[in-house]
Subunit: 297 residues, 2 copies
């Protein structure tokens, strides 16, 4: 039987439909429109594209969307001042500073300047810390949050399962492991994290009932590394040269799809998988921030 395809596009559409209802409810009950501010320093075309996609998605959902574009030479003080202004602006519930920043700006200082209650990217250490300790409301980074939601909505609750996370980045692997380990919905998994220092990787990956791959190497996970019937989520995206293609390249993930689909019971491929979830969870965090503010949580 071919593997179930877990589509981030379909799941995103479902989540955005629910978010639209919550946006209506916020307007009706509290007269509040959730607001997302994006901050872009410089003119990187890739960053411009990402920021544009986020703002467009926010507008389509009925959010107030404010795009702030600053020149490359913006000073640290100016940027911190702008963030401080957004922190105290009641129309803004989520602040996203697009990374990477130009070299003269200190990323850590800028991220720590965002108020944790508006850090919808989930990068402030207070949010990372509360994710770990469960000591208060927090925002989790969007991609790992999206992975957990995909698992839940595709019928693969991690509760009690052996989950192997491949990769320990600050954006994906590390926070994902902490999310899966928490008590409660989306958590309660037995979590193993592997990375470049892991010996005999295939032995570890084959213990997984759910395998999430975010290691950043094209098609590294082959069929023999996956236990029959496992659920596989591929977070990687790469362009690899492909003379047979018109463009001269093709897009692939960290997983060798054609092999792993024959072994897994379900797979979220790349492209066509996690991709749209990241922006969807950014919108979800922004709506949640507005709800918390309206309900004074």
């Amino acid at each position: 039987m071919p593997a179930q395809i877990i589509s981030g596009k379909d799941i995103s559409a479902a989540i955005r439909g629910e978010l639209r209802q919550r946006v209506f409810a916020l307007a009706a009950r509290h007269g509040v429109q959730p607001g997302l501010a994006t901050v872009l320093v410089g003119t990187s075309p890739a960053s411009q594209m990402y920021v544009g996609m986020k703002n467009r998605a926010a507008s389509e959902l009925g959010l107030h969307s404010r795009q702030l574009t600053l020149p490359e030479e913006t000073s640290q003080e100016e940027l911190l001042g702008l963030v401080a202004g957004l922190n105290s602006d009641p129309a803004i519930h989520g602040i996203l500073v697009q990374l990477p920043l130009p070299g003269h700006l200190r990323k850590t200082r800028v991220i720590e300047a965002i108020h944790p209650s508006k850090d919808v990217d989930g990068l402030h250490p207070v949010n990372a810390g509360r994710l770990m300790t469960g000591s208060g409301p927090f925002f989790a980074p969007c991609t790992p949050l999206g992975v957990v939601d995909m698992l839940l909505r595709s019928g693969h609750d991690p509760n009690g399962k052996r989950v192997v996370v491949l990769g320990r980045s600050n954006l994906v692997g590390h926070p994902l492991a902490n999310l899966l380990l928490r008590k409660g919905r989306g958590g309660d998994a037995t979590v193993t994290v592997c990375h470049s220092r892991t010996r005999d990787l295939a032995t570890v990956t084959r213990t997984a009932e759910i395998l999430v791959v975010a290691i950043g190497r094209p098609e590294m996970i082959t069929g023999d590394m996956v236990s029959p019937g496992a659920v596989v989520i591929d977070v990687g995206t790469h362009r690899v040269p492909d003379p047979a293609s018109e463009k001269g390249y093709r897009v692939c993930g960290d997983v060798l799809f054609r092999e792993v689909r024959e072994v897994a019971s379900a797979i979220s491929p790349s492209p066509g998988g996690v991709g749209p979830m990241t922006i969807t969870m950014l919108l979800a965090n922004t709506v949640e921030s507005a709800e918390r503010a309206a309900e004074d949580v």
Copy 2:
């Protein structure tokens, strides 16, 4: 061959010897004496004993030790004001609020009031977050920090090893997993976290080259759950009834020592293992805090 005994007492003595040198150096180079303030609210005999032990250990090491004991009925505002005073007191480099607090005080609020740079217990979310993201200097909670140091100093570097952590508490299991997963010294392990929801626990624990047990159940880990040659660290401490003993009880850990010592290559027993490390790492964090302040890190 009987298992190597990893003694927290011996390792603590070595660390405290090194710390004493660092305290001398701080005095000589910067004219600074590290200062630890402990705050105890109420009259719980157990808490009084713990706080007393911490202050005594600090004094013996040549630290400035300040013990603040407040009545049970101390208000939240009064406690927060006192913490704010310690935050701005240049003679104090470490602040420890003894837990648990009386029921009318909000633990989370009090802990978050401690400045992260003086939170030598490693409980502030900024410290937990930086432990996870590596985005700045942090303090890790003392018991997991002690476990990592015991492994390193007894010749069992976790780098590249399969480590299984049993337990996901905020004080031990969860931060320990994050410490072991970091890049660099004491980290780079392949980490699995198990807990009450883990199915077929013995299968998972037998994959461990290093097994750290902090699950809170007396003598739960039996010999058959341990892989031959594994290194086992027992973090649990329990009093269990024992009619054969004069006191009517005996102290044991989470590990069935008499069985596991026959299987493991090295074991840190309980009692006689991790115990003294927690206070030692509190002293280490306090000295480090003073060094950071003196060197303006």
